[in-house]
Each structure stands twice: as structure tokens, then as C-alpha cells.
Symmetry: C2
Subunit: 265 residues, 2 copies
């Protein structure tokens, strides 16, 4: 037998783009915490840590992935996107199949494709779509992990009226939770903020060029207060213009939030 040529075995590394879904209830958020300064690794892994372990098992130790952005602990994703650079001689389907065997049931690889030239999961993103599910009343055990149960009667028309006042290009500082540190640009273009009721599920869909920290959950928190009749629809405009997060704005729980899709050109 002849020794296989090392030249033939070598494939130049290239960039891959992957779409994944995950049940955020099983993770301490997206962001890897292995590089956390001085801190111990958390008992519950992050999505990125679990994915890097799965890809490293197939592609070699130390494979790093780069997400479109973080999601907080408990937040789910149907279409999170990340990229990675790797030498892989077989098709992307075979890579996906191989990695799947190393992932927990709470993470799904939806697709792997060669990335277009210059692609970067975070820097190339042109926008994001999130959904948030509110459940009217006591949800069954199969819905509970994925929706916020609200027990007061809800006026969906009032929520829609408030949502219309929030859409557009605004400074959304009043609807974000500052993480401290440097002052960031807090103007975002909220292209879409829909409220649709179907049976006992009220789905809020938000699309923007980008979102501030906890922005979707702050918008949902205000809209639900409006729906419950505890905040006048017009007040959300005043809060927006105040550019200050005040007492009526609170953060809806993470379990109803899904990163639905990341938009690229």
C-alpha cells in the first residue's frame, strides 16, 4: 500500500455559514464564558460552548465560531447564524450530519453552507427579526417553556395602537437596559412591530437594523402593560421621547423570546 499523499489530504480552510436553532431554557445564553476573566465556568453551558465542543469534535480541537450576536440566558433561537473557518474536504451536509451527533437535543443545526466572500456573521448582518409569544391564561406544560403566561384580560387593539407609535427610526434608550461602560449609539430603525392574536397566543414580531440590550423584552413589557390597561397607549411615545428608562418600562421574561431570523443582503 502506498502512503496517501499529504498534499491530497490538505484542503485550504474556507469560511462556512451555519444557521442553528436552540432551546434557550437549557443554556446560560449564547456567549461563550470560557474566556471570562477570573471567573469559574458556569455549571450550565452556553450555546456557543456547546457548539464549539461539537464542531471541535469533528474539525479538531479549538474550532471557534462567531455568532451574529448574543442572546441572553433563557432566550430561544429559530435562526441564529454563525460563521467559522475550517478545512473540510466533504460536502456541508456531511459536516452537519457529523456535528449533529456531538450536540445535545436542545441545539439543532438547520443548515451549513459555504459563506459568500467577505461574510461575517455579525458585521454582515443587515437586521434581525425577533418574535415574542404571550399566552393568555394558564399555558399547558408544552407551551409554558416558550411563552409568557399573562392572566389579566388583554386589549390587543390597544397594544397595536402603542406599537404603531414605536415603529420607525428613534432613539430607543428608554427601552434598553444599559450595561454601563461606554455610551453607545442608541438610535435604531424599528421597521416592524406587529401584534397578532391567534387563539390564546399573542405574538409580537419585531424587526430592526439592530436591537439594544434587552430592547425587545422592554418593548414587550410596555406593550403588555398597555394591553392590560395599566398604561395608556400614548404614554409609550412619551417614554420613547424621554430617552430614559422609567418605572413603567420593565423587562418581559426571556422564555417567550425567539431570535427568529438574521437578515443578510
Amino acid at each position: 500500500m502506498t502512503k496517501p499523499s499529504p498534499v491530497r489530504d490538505t484542503v485550504r480552510p474556507r469560511r462556512w455559514r451555519c444557521v442553528c436553532a436552540y432551546d434557550g431554557g437549557s443554556f446560560s445564553g449564547w456567549q461563550s464564558q470560557t474566556s471570562r476573566s477570573g471567573g469559574a465556568r458556569p455549571v450550565i453551558p452556553t450555546v456557543q460552548d456547546a457548539l464549539e465542543a461539537g464542531f471541535s469534535a469533528v474539525l479538531g480541537a479549538g474550532t471557534k465560531i462567531h455568532g451574529s450576536g448574543r442572546t441572553d440566558a433563557g432566550v430561544h433561537a429559530r435562526g441564529q447564524v454563525f460563521h467559522f473557518d475550517a478545512s473540510w474536504r466533504h460536502g456541508p451536509e456531511k459536516l452537519a450530519a457529523a456535528v449533529r451527533t456531538h450536540l445535545p437535543a436542545s441545539i439543532q443545526i438547520c443548515s451549513i453552507r459555504p459563506a459568500p466572500a467577505g461574510f461575517h456573521a455579525r458585521l454582515s448582518a443587515k437586521g434581525k427579526i425577533y418574535t415574542y409569544d404571550v399566552w393568555l391564561g394558564d399555558a399547558d406544560p408544552f407551551t409554558r417553556p416558550y411563552a409568557w403566561s399573562v392572566f389579566r384580560p388583554i386589549d390587543v387593539a390597544a397594544m397595536r395602537a402603542a406599537a404603531a407609535l414605536l415603529r420607525g427610526r428613534h432613539d430607543f434608550e428608554a427601552f434598553s437596559a444599559s450595561r454601563g461602560g461606554e455610551k453607545e449609539d442608541t438610535v435604531r430603525d424599528l421597521r416592524r412591530l406587529d401584534v397578532v392574536r391567534r387563539g390564546r397566543r399573542v405574538r409580537i414580531t419585531a424587526e430592526a437594523d439592530g436591537f439594544l440590550y434587552k430592547m425587545v423584552r422592554s418593548l414587550v413589557g410596555a406593550l403588555v402593560l398597555v394591553g392590560e390597561g395599566r398604561l395608556e397607549p400614548g404614554r409609550v411615545r412619551e417614554i420613547l421621547l424621554s430617552k430614559r428608562r422609567g418605572p413603567p418600562v420593565h423587562t418581559a421574561p426571556p422564555l417567550g423570546l425567539f431570535l427568529h431570523r438574521v437578515i443578510y443582503r
Copy 2:
């Protein structure tokens, strides 16, 4: 202040009927294992144990509940029914609300009502409806805990043809998993066995006057083999008539099975 009359405080115990839902993935099945002879209590509780703990917290220690029947580890329920006897002076809604605060999120109390005279959750049952969900391909993380992912192409028409041969009053011994012990009557009236595809979900619905141990999952195992083209539809009739569980009959995994409803007059 006068001391309240002990007579006025006493309410005669009566029988209550409760409908509940649960995510079976969180439990070691329905049946309480506290009375298991000589065995240690399992680390994962049973549904009955969790419910008795919740009701005992409100109604007093040692409250016992009596289910319509067992479900195995990993099997879910949308409409399991149980009864219990208790003295409760307030309405059933208040009892449900009080017990809810003592239950895990994986169990839902759907309703509590005074039981009709002579009602017994198991002995009064006239039938049961189960559903079983098969998912065609790789299910997302939110569907995975509730459906059996099947990766071969499926012929739903062939499954329906086989189901038609199984409906009716038959000896279903070939489609049960004997638990040993005494010989039980294995004739059941399978009133309904439907196969409905909607998108990538194939839902099998079975209704009978009663089901043998692992009967639904054995029927599903055979139907999926037929759907995959690995068993001729007509063969299920031969297996049924053989009254012997043979190699082609296997048990579908529990995660797709839901006790949908218990039928009473």
C-alpha cells in the same frame, strides 16, 4: 371574639374529579413508587407523587389520588383524569389555584369539578384516546421532546391501509408487551386508528375501550415500518391474527405519545 364553631368548620368529604396535563419527559411515569416493595425511591419523581405532594400541601398530608390508568416514563398527557376525596369548603377554582402553586411547571391542573355520584377515575372510564406524533426528518429543538423523528421517506397511504386492517374488536396480544404474571383478557375494541399528515408531522390517533401495556406504541412501531416500506400493509393483519408478538413488532419511543382524553359517559 368568639371561637369559631368546630361544627361550622367541618365540611363533609366529597369526591372530586380532576383533569391534568403533564410533560412526561420530566417524570418516571405516572404511577407512584412510594409503595414499591423494598425499592428505593427514584431520583426522578412520578407524576402521581408530584400531584399528591401538591394536593397534600393544600388539603393535608397523605391526600391520595386515583388515576384513570398509568402512563409509562416519558409519555405525556393532555387529559389524564384522576379522582380524590377531600373536605374543601371553597369552590373548585380556588382549590385548583391553591394546588397550582405547589406543582412544577411540567404539570398543569386543567380543571377540578365535583365528581358525579359513584365516579371512579379508572373504573368509570369507557375508553381512552391517545395521539402519537411522528416527525419527518430532523425536528427543531422545540418539537423534539414531543415527536419521534423518522428519517426514511414515509408512505402515509400505506400506513392508512394497514391501520384499516387493525381497527375493530380484536385480540391485540401481538401488539402488547407482556408484563408477565396472570393472563389478562387481551381483546380490545380499537374504535379509531387514524393517520393524518400535516406538513412534516404525521399524527396517529387511537381510540379504544382500553389499551394493553405498550399497545399504542406497538401499533405505531408497526405502522411506521409499513410507512417506511419495510413491512407490507397486509402483514399487520397476519401479525394480529398470530396473537404473538414477533420480531417485526417493536415499541415506538415514548416521547411522541400523549394520553389525549379519557372518555366517561
